[in-house]
Each structure stands twice: as C-alpha cells, then as structure tokens.
C-alpha cells in the first residue's frame, strides 16, 4: 500500500496569477524580459569567447515561469555535483544571478584559464579563483548589456563560489523567491564550446521589483 501526496500546484498557477495583478503576467512583458536576457547572454558569450580565444555558442535563451518549488523537478539534475558562482546584484532593485557548471566541466574550464596541462593538475585554490573570476566576467558583461540597454543601475556584490549538488545550491534561492512571490521567473541559457564538450547554465532570479523596473524602462525605450 502506497500513498503519495503531492502538491499539485502547477494546476493552480493560473489562479495565483489572476489574484495577483502582476505586470509580468502577459506575454508581451515576458517577451521584453526574454529580449533583455538575450542581449545580456550574447554579451556574456562574447566575453567568454575572448577569454578562451575560440568561438563560444549560446543556445537560444529561455524564460520559465513556474512555482519556485517545481524548479528542481523541471531541471531533473537532483544529485549532479555542481560548481556554482553566485552574485547578488543590488542597486535600484535586487537580483540573484548564478552561473552553474558540472564539477568536471568547471575543472576543464579552470584548466584552460590557468594553463594547467590537465584538469587533474589544477591547484584547488587557483581553480576556485579562476571559476570565481569567470563568473565575475560573464555576469558582469550580462549586467553591462542590461544597464546599457535600460539604464538600470545594478551594483554587483563580490562573487561567491560553492560546490554542492544541484538541488541544494538552488534551494536557498527558491526559498528567497518563494518569500517574495508565488511564481519564479527563471531565465536560463546554455553556453557551449564549438566542439561541444563544455556547457554551463546562466540563471537569473529577478526580483519582482526588478522585473517592473526593466519592463518600464524597456517600454520607454521602445517608444
């Protein structure tokens, strides 16, 4: 005998957005956020290409709106050991940005950056520092694109690196998102090297305030 009790909140999503008069609810606003994200991700990919001296591809960025607690289920990467660089953006509005690599891939990337002969020879401290710096550059260029386009002032805090399982890394952000609203807007994009052996995820949890500010400024710009 088995009893599975699941929170079927996906079906309730509609009613939640109806009761909350939320600006990002309609497709146009989501489209604007997605466009801003694409510009940022393009900029980030350019700076990655410059670091590695070879072309870096980005997949078409995606924007997901779903209840925060369903995000880990959506990615299905529960136990995957992950290296993450976290940057908190402050200023006109708050935003959390995460750059996620699988641990093995982060090692390869660090080896390329510090010119180590192989990922196994990495000095752990150098590796940590290299990955943090990479996060700084990628998220920084994302931010530059965003503020060039909209004029929003966002000040990044120093990056912090953490190595843990995918779910455990995400859950602090999801809790924070849950405190703010019932729906998380997660923006993600994948980076790939031309030979396809390294990929990473850039994830953004914009606060509701930031979404409003971005949409407002982008609308003015479009007019």
């Amino acid at each position: 005998m088995t009893e599975n009790i699941t929170d079927h909140s996906a079906s309730k999503t509609k009613s939640v957005t109806e009761t909350d008069a939320w600006t990002a609810d309609n497709d146009v606003d989501l489209g604007i956020l997605l466009e801003l994200g694409s510009i940022g991700a393009g900029n980030a990919a350019t700076s990655l290409s410059e670091i590695f001296q070879e072309p870096i591809l980005i997949e078409v960025p995606k924007i997901h709106t779903l209840p925060p607690h369903l995000v880990p289920k959506f990615y299905q990467k529960h136990d995957v050991p992950t290296t993450a660089v976290y940057m908190q953006l402050r200023g006109e509005a708050d935003c959390d940005m995460l750059l996620l690599f699988e641990v093995e891939e982060a090692k390869k990337i660090a080896a390329m950056m510090i010119r180590a002969p192989s990922p196994e020879d990495n000095d752990p401290e150098m590796e940590a520092s290299a990955i943090q710096e990479l996060g700084n550059i990628v998220i920084g260029s994302f931010l530059t694109a965003l503020s060039d386009f909209t004029g929003v002032n966002l000040i990044p805090n120093p990056p912090q690196r953490v190595v843990d399982s995918f779910d455990a890394i995400l859950d602090s952000f999801l809790i924070k998102q849950l405190l703010a609203s019932d729906i998380a807007i997660v923006f993600d994009t994948y980076f790939k090297r031309a030979d396809g052996n390294i990929s990473g995820i850039l994830m953004m949890f914009p606060s509701r305030q930031l979404q409003d500010v971005l949409i407002e400024k982008a609308k003015n710009w479009v007019r």
Binding site: N4, I5, S9, Q88, D164, S172, L179
Partner: protein, 212 residues
Amino acid sequence: MLIPPFQPLFSINTLGVNLAKFPQNSANSPEATKTDLTPQLSPFMVFQNQPAPHIEEVRVNMAEMKVEDRPVALVTNVGSCVAVCIHDSNNKRGGLAHIMLPSSSVTRNKSFPLKYADTAVPALTGALRKLGKSSVALSAKTVGGANMFPNMRFITLNIGEKNVEAVKQALAAEGVRLLAEDVGGNCGRRVSFNVVDGSVRVRNGRREVKII
C-alpha cells in the same frame, strides 16, 4: 613479520552481507577479500566514497511528501530546506516531507501546505496514523537547515535555523519524539531514508556519509 589484521572499533553492516559467513581473521580463506565490502567506520561514523546499498529509491521533490510501506528508500536533496523523516516502527512504514519555510503565516497564499513546517508535519503524522490505524509508534529524524552562502545578505534571515526550530516545535506539538538530527553547517545534504528500519543515510556536499 606478521601484521595482525586491523580490528575496527565497531562496524555497521550497511550492505546486508552476512558477516558470519566471512570470518575476518582467516587471511588464508578465499572469501576473506569479500569482507572489504563492509565499511570500516571511524568512531565518528563518517566515511568517504562509500557506495550506497542496493535499495529502490523514490525521489521526493521540493514541497512534496511521500509515505511508503514498500521496502524502499525515500530520497531527497536539501540545502536550507529540511527533510523530516518520520518512521512508524510498529508497521515498518515511513514518510518523508521536504519543507521549505518555517511558517505558513509568512506568505499570503496558503494553498500549498506541504511547503511549511507548521502544516506539513501534522499532514505527515496524520497520514501515518491514518494508515497505521491504532498501533503506531512514531519517531522522527530531521536533516537539513544548512546555510549555503554564509556571506550573503539574505541569509541574515537565517531561514535554515528557523526551519529546524519550527520543525522541532511542530513535532513536539504532535507528540513525536525526535531521535536524531543532522542540521546546520554550510553544506547541502542528500537524504536517503530507509522506511523499513528507519535509518537515514546522509551524504553531504563533501561526499562524507553519515548514518543517523
């Protein structure tokens, strides 16, 4: 010179290998090598890179709760969230709830009770009591409540600690004894709760395994 075989202080047979069949001291026995399968535990019961025993695993997602009486392990990953494992030793049955926030009073929307400690714990004990009819013996173990990013501003909320505290209060209110806990720190944990014997296998982000 003959080196006497290493005698561990104590060991736990997590793989279900019958130790009596493999005498530890007979170095000449062809079966002696098989005893390597059993983990040699340090007094702290922490060991590295130990393969998990073979048991079917059922994944519990965030803000979900599952109750099983098949011989399976309920598995979940927690960081600042808390996994509440409640075992019914009379009926060899158990349930796991993955809670995210301490109290349902912090948000306006109360439609998802399994997110909150003060509503999920009564739901879990209620489900176990309903299945077990009159004869239940409930005991609880909690895992999680870590602080993943110690330097960051929003962690001044200390949501992990608050979660752990709220779970304790909810368990006390339900009259369920808290047997063991592995909480705090700044490391995520993978929880594997064997519903038959009530043991909880915790593997943290540094790949150290602990059985509580």
